[in-house]
């Protein structure tokens, strides 16, 4: 089986998962005590208007008919109306998505290499000082409330030292190509914006990356420990290879396989963390949108963010699976 065939098949398998996801979000929105028709119409609207909306949005139909409209809405981009923003949810999400994407990308960029490196050091120096230090660092990462870490960083680097800004994404670049400020500022050669945006993303991306970094460190450590005991490591040493080559070429390549799976799962933490991080740093992404929606009881917005985050997470795991198949020759694609 070719790689693209595998990807196509996996994409097809994505469909039932997404339907499952919508089943859950649909059930949750059913629980919501507030009357959506009333929310759309506004508090002062006469009952006849509310009833009209009720008809229009099929709220009087049986559950399964409502679900049919719901899921067709999901697939056709009709994700409801966000009354806090006074525009469709899909539009808001499209606007806010790049900011969240940029932030998570940076956080991943920090977390993966650092986490792998620390995990390797920890495993190689098992039960020695570097191992203890890196374990404490990693366990702190999974134990640290992300919002608290963000606040401490703001306190130190904004309030006291004044090195970094504490809110927003910085100046918008001269032209918009991708919606990622830093990339766009480079593409439009807007150095002023580039420096400002870089300065703005440092604290939030560090805040967001710590927990993921910690998870990757721990996983790399334990899978390295497991791999280092295996026979082929002894073979590699018996060949006369230096420790560096044995560890990075022979052990790490194998240890990365389980680490990769965990990185996919850690992405969930990253998306959850994004909500908290964006709230603290007033980062105009989907997370802050969700926070704002919670405080204004904008249910379609909350459900929209939830659904989109779940879809992103599912796709992230698909990418992980594909990389998995690439890294491990024992996995025959499609089996």
């Amino acid at each position: 089986m070719k790689l693209w065939q595998y990807i196509a098949r996996r994409l097809l398998l994505l469909l039932p998962v997404i339907i499952g996801v919508t089943l859950i979000t649909f059930t949750i929105s059913f629980v919501i005590p507030a009357d959506p028709a009333r929310a759309w119409a506004g508090q002062k609207a006469p009952p006849s208007t509310v009833e009209k909306i009720r008809e229009e949005y099929h709220l009087n139909d049986p559950v399964y008919v409502q679900y049919y409209y719901y899921i067709t809405g999901v697939f056709t981009g009709n994700w409801g109306y966000s009354h806090s923003e006074k525009r469709p949810v899909a539009q808001c999400l499209a606007d806010y998505f790049p900011a969240t994407f940029e932030l998570t990308l940076w956080a991943m960029g920090i977390a993966i290499p650092t986490g792998i490196y620390l995990g390797v050091v920890s495993a190689v120096k098992r039960n020695k000082i570097p191992d203890h230090l890196s374990r404490i660092f990693a366990l702190s990462g999974v134990s640290m409330p992300i919002f608290w870490l963000g606040l401490l960083l703001i306190l130190l680097f904004y309030t006291y030292l004044g090195w970094f800004p504490a809110s927003g994404r910085g100046i918008a670049p001269a032209h918009t190509y991708t919606g990622l400020y830093i990339l766009d500022s480079i593409l439009s050669l807007d150095w002023h914006a580039f420096v400002d945006d870089l300065w703005h993303i440092i604290l939030p991306s560090i805040t967001l990356s710590y927990a993921t970094l910690a998870v990757i460190t721990r996983m790399t450590r334990s899978s390295m420990l497991e791999v280092l005991r295996l026979d082929y490591i002894k073979t590699a040493k018996a060949k006369g290879l230096s420790d560096k080559v044995v560890i990075y070429r022979h052990a790490l390549r194998n240890a990365l396989i389980p680490t990769l799976t965990v990185s996919g799962l850690a992405f969930a933490g990253l998306l959850g963390g994004a909500v908290l991080t964006e709230t603290i740093f007033a980062w105009p992404g989907m997370g802050r949108y969700a926070y704002q929606a919670i405080s204004t009881l904008d249910y379609p917005a909350i459900m929209g963010v939830t659904l989109l985050m779940a879809i992103i997470f599912v796709i992230a795991n698909l990418i992980v699976d594909i990389m998995y198949a690439y890294l491990d020759p024992r996995i025959k694609l499609g089996e």
Partner: protein
């Protein structure tokens, strides 16, 4: 005489278990991080139990009407000997609130994990043992839940139910049960193939009895390790929800709420209101993770040497 005899025979028949237990104790002693986790946990439990004696002030209000010690001159006082962690904008003693907050954090953690675990053990054991369509449906349902980032799903559920501590706990239970179901099911599947289960079945012991007496006890250790680490995770997630304004009401002795409330003051330099409750969350979760992580390493024969 009989007692000595009994002890001796106990020691004899349980020789291997005693040896194993001693070995585990030895490993805990040799692993400073696990030991640190254990000591921290004991400390945290003591604080929760003796909160009224440790806290110098009542954490919130007395008699439903009056904040105490409400004192305009005490608003946002920095840490001092009188108020170890300072005061909030109503003049509450933050140290007292943090001490009482321990009770709430542990309460949330234990109730959520125990309920999730019970649901998981029941459904997982049944699903794994029965197999067939029930198992298939169960696993697909779990998959649906796993497709969500935990905090996001909990956020959506709590938002739908309406903010509040109870609803946060319901939401966390909904988010956490599938993980246990899957672990237990996996354990059951591996235990099921063992000889003694086959034997029990051959002798004609009922299905329920086999699950209850043989399957569940044997899958317990990994579940308990998971539960230890999850206690920390649940407390952390609950604090996150409280921070987003979905948890308890303002001025409750709840760590997440306190960090959230102190947040706007922190930027202007009133750092203590958010910092100390946050530190309490961190230390508590860290303690559970240190201990759980250490125990997992110790129980994992592959990592032993």
């Amino acid at each position: 005489m009989a007692e000595i005899e009994a002890t001796r025979s106990f020691a004899k028949t349980h020789e291997s278990q005693i040896k194993e237990f001693k070995y585990i104790l030895h490993l805990i002693r040799k692993s400073p991080l696990t030991l640190a986790g254990l000591i921290l946990l004991i400390f945290i439990f003591l604080v929760a139990v003796f909160a009224p004696w440790i806290a110098p002030y009542h954490p919130t209000y007395v008699g439903g009407q009056q904040y105490w010690p409400y004192d305009a001159s005490k608003m946002l006082d920095p840490p001092s000997w009188q108020h170890l962690f300072g005061t909030d904008d109503m003049g509450h003693d933050i140290f007292s609130m943090v001490v009482y907050g321990t009770r709430e954090a542990l309460y949330i953690g234990f109730i959520v994990v125990i309920v999730a675990m019970l649901i998981g053990v029941l459904l997982g054991a049944y699903s794994g043992y029965i197999g067939g369509w029930f198992d298939e449906v169960m696993m697909r349902i779990c998959d649906m839940f796993f497709a969500f980032p935990g905090l996001i799903l909990a956020m959506a559920i709590t938002a739908a139910l309406g903010p509040g501590l109870q609803n946060v706990m319901y939401a966390l239970m909904v988010v956490w049960w599938p993980a246990y179901t899957r672990i237990v099911r996996g354990q059951v599947l591996s235990v099921k193939e063992n000889q003694y289960i086959e034997a029990a079945r051959a002798v004609g012991i009922s299905r329920f009895k086999i699950i209850w007496k043989h399957v569940i006890p044997n899958s317990l250790p990994p579940i308990l390790v998971q539960a230890t680490m999850d206690l920390g995770n649940v407390i952390l997630t609950a604090a996150g929800l409280a921070f987003l304004g979905l948890g308890a009401a303002a001025y409750t002795a709840d760590w997440g709420v306190m960090v959230s409330q102190g947040r706007s003051w922190l930027i202007s330099g009133y750092w203590w209101w958010s910092t100390f409750p946050g530190l309490a969350i961190f230390i508590t979760v860290l303690a559970f993770n240190l201990f759980g992580d250490g125990i997992r390493d110790i129980l994992d024969p592959r990592l032993r040497r």
